[in-house]
Symmetry: C2
């Protein structure tokens, strides 16, 4: 079966101001089409990832952009929407229904997705930081992880974001700044929480045949893994030391890409809170279970070069697309000031609602 | 490439009362799983079609049903969402990412999709009946179509619905009843308008390999066509005598199924208003352009046996799924009192927002 490539990307400036969702959605698309007008002729699918209630949004965007695609769809899977939209695009190309798809992720601060009111199992603890705190306490108790190790992750991601012009936060912060920031829910501090903001990111994905028309260096979607464990926190796990859906999604992606964790040069992972990055190290098999704190101190790989969710901000529906855009850029040598020299294989980890569902993509040269 | 089959379906009672969207969504799923408990073991994807703002709805439904799928997603394309969710499921199976997918369509009366407030080109004429009236006037002027021909369609569909236990309206109505019903926007009368209601429908679609495990009589998805012309009414067409997106989607579906209009035994088409059924006859190539009124009087095919949108009601996100379920049932010989004897090949026509986008599916034995 023929392969599917990513051949273009752009990400808007992430910001705190609320805007019209559909106008924000168009920002990265307009940049992509300005840089490569040829795409317009080929795009036959538009997939919009958002958690906002943008009925018929993909069709409206197609009109804004003056494109008449065969297929236009909105996709929602909460914070995990972005990579799900990529999976839909990938599948539409694989099935032969489309050839070249514009995948857009966008959200603004008016999304109601940042408070999980439908999850009655959380009781009054409806904000994501409540579950993050439980994960953190469990890891500290079980493996002796320290608050400093978690804070180090936040400090590094915020510092990475300095080099990312799209990032919401562009000021370097120290470990001390994190440790001294306001305690939100013990042991999670303010600077360890991602910020739900406005922003959009877009990708062009295409068939193997078309990829050669567009670029000499396509980046292939080589592995896809996805798993939905549950939706509510109450059914998540008896053991809060792992993100089960991430473990299963990662195994599936490694298996169908035939790459191993050792092969990965760059990782964009879902650091909604610093503790979730630490858990993801383990559940993506970058290190052994329980060793996440240690790994935070001696990371061997390039992790969250764009600044992650902590540094870039977290426009829910855009995040998975922006993560994938970053790994694409690193592999394609378009990382700008963030470029890592030898980058051939990368991994994207996107999840939703306390890790109740996860997606892992593996991209390669 | 291996084929994709529909192997199960159920449709809830369509009704006027508003319910919890996610509970309505589960109704047909519970019936399917009660009848065929084996599906539960195989379902590895859940796709929810809805225009309501059901963030993370597919994941929440997976928890309600105690299923842990690989992929869970919500899909929106306004009234055209249902068949888009089927296209997503089809593609996920074709790509090898999933094997057996539960596709659910659901909406309730609280959807805001029945008034197209985003479309500024409509001015104060934001309700769908406004554009339907323009289509109708144009056809009357250009082809001499009569109000009686349109009314006949409404009377027939409402009468078909009498045999459909899921339908919202189950009282036979005469042509005179339609003609004498309240004029809404000249020349469209009350009984020629579909009613936005609460309801859900679900399908099980699966790979060729699995289909044989589930049934001796799978129904194949043999053709898919889809096109997005625009979103707003103002950009729709200079010529309101055709639904352009339907013409293009039909051509695509006929081509990739290798069936012709003559081969089709049963049609479920998108009669949001009686005039749209008349136009669809022409644009699906069941008759020649301009002959829709005549065709309404002497239809050769079984059209909208479940009662169409006019008889069944129109829960936006559910409609495309319920239409497909009906064609599946007719071909699989599960049409109950509505069963047509020799039914081998069927067509589903689903569209949104004045026909600015359309999907056509062709199913076959």
């Amino acid at each position: 079966m023929s392969k599917v490539a990513i051949v273009g990307s752009n990400t808007s400036k992430f910001r705190k101001e609320t805007s019209s969702l559909l106008e924000v959605s168009c920002e990265p698309c307009i940049e992509i089409l300005r840089e490569n007008p040829i795409f317009k002729k080929y795009i036959d699918g538009i997939i919009l990832s958002t958690t906002s209630n943008a009925q018929y949004g993909a069709a409206i965007i197609s009109e804004y952009l003056d494109i008449k695609p065969k297929i236009s769809q909105g996709v929602d899977n909460l914070c995990n929407s972005g990579t799900n939209a990529i999976i839909t695009g990938y599948s539409l190309i694989k099935s032969g229904l489309c050839n070249t798809i514009l995948v857009i992720g966008a959200d603004d601060t008016s999304t109601s997705g940042s408070k999980l009111e439908w999850d009655l199992s959380r009781g009054n603890f409806a904000f994501p930081v409540h579950w993050a705190a439980l994960f953190a306490k469990k890891h500290i108790r079980q493996y002796g992880t320290t608050e400093e190790q978690m804070a180090l992750i936040a400090s590094r991601n915020r510092s990475n974001a300095v080099k990312n012009p799209s990032a919401l936060f562009r000021k370097k912060i120290s470990l001390n700044n994190v440790m001294e920031s306001k305690m939100i829910v013990q042991p999670i501090k303010l600077l360890e929480c991602s910020y739900v903001c406005t922003g959009a990111s877009a990708l062009i994905i295409t068939s193997e045949e078309n990829a050669k028309k567009f670029t000499d260096l396509p980046v292939w979607i080589s592995g896809i893994g996805s798993f939905t464990s549950t939706a509510s926190f109450g059914n998540l796990s008896n053991n809060l030391s792992s993100i089960v859906s991430t473990q299963l999604a990662a195994k599936m992606a490694y298996k169908n890409s035939r790459f191993t964790p050792k092969d990965i040069d760059v990782v964009e992972l879902h650091d909604a809170f610093s503790i979730m990055e630490l858990l993801a190290y383990e559940d993506l098999e970058l290190t052994t279970k329980g060793n996440g704190g240690e790994y935070a101190e001696h990371t061997e790989k390039l992790i969250n070069p764009r600044g992650g969710l902590l540094g870039s901000g977290h426009p829910l529906g855009a995040t998975g697309v922006a993560q994938t855009a970053e790994v694409f850029n690193q592999i394609a040598g378009k990382g700008g000031r963030r470029q890592v020299k030898s980058c051939n294989i990368g991994l994207v980890h996107n999840m939703a609602a306390a890790g109740s569902s996860s997606t892992v993509l593996i991209l390669s040269r």
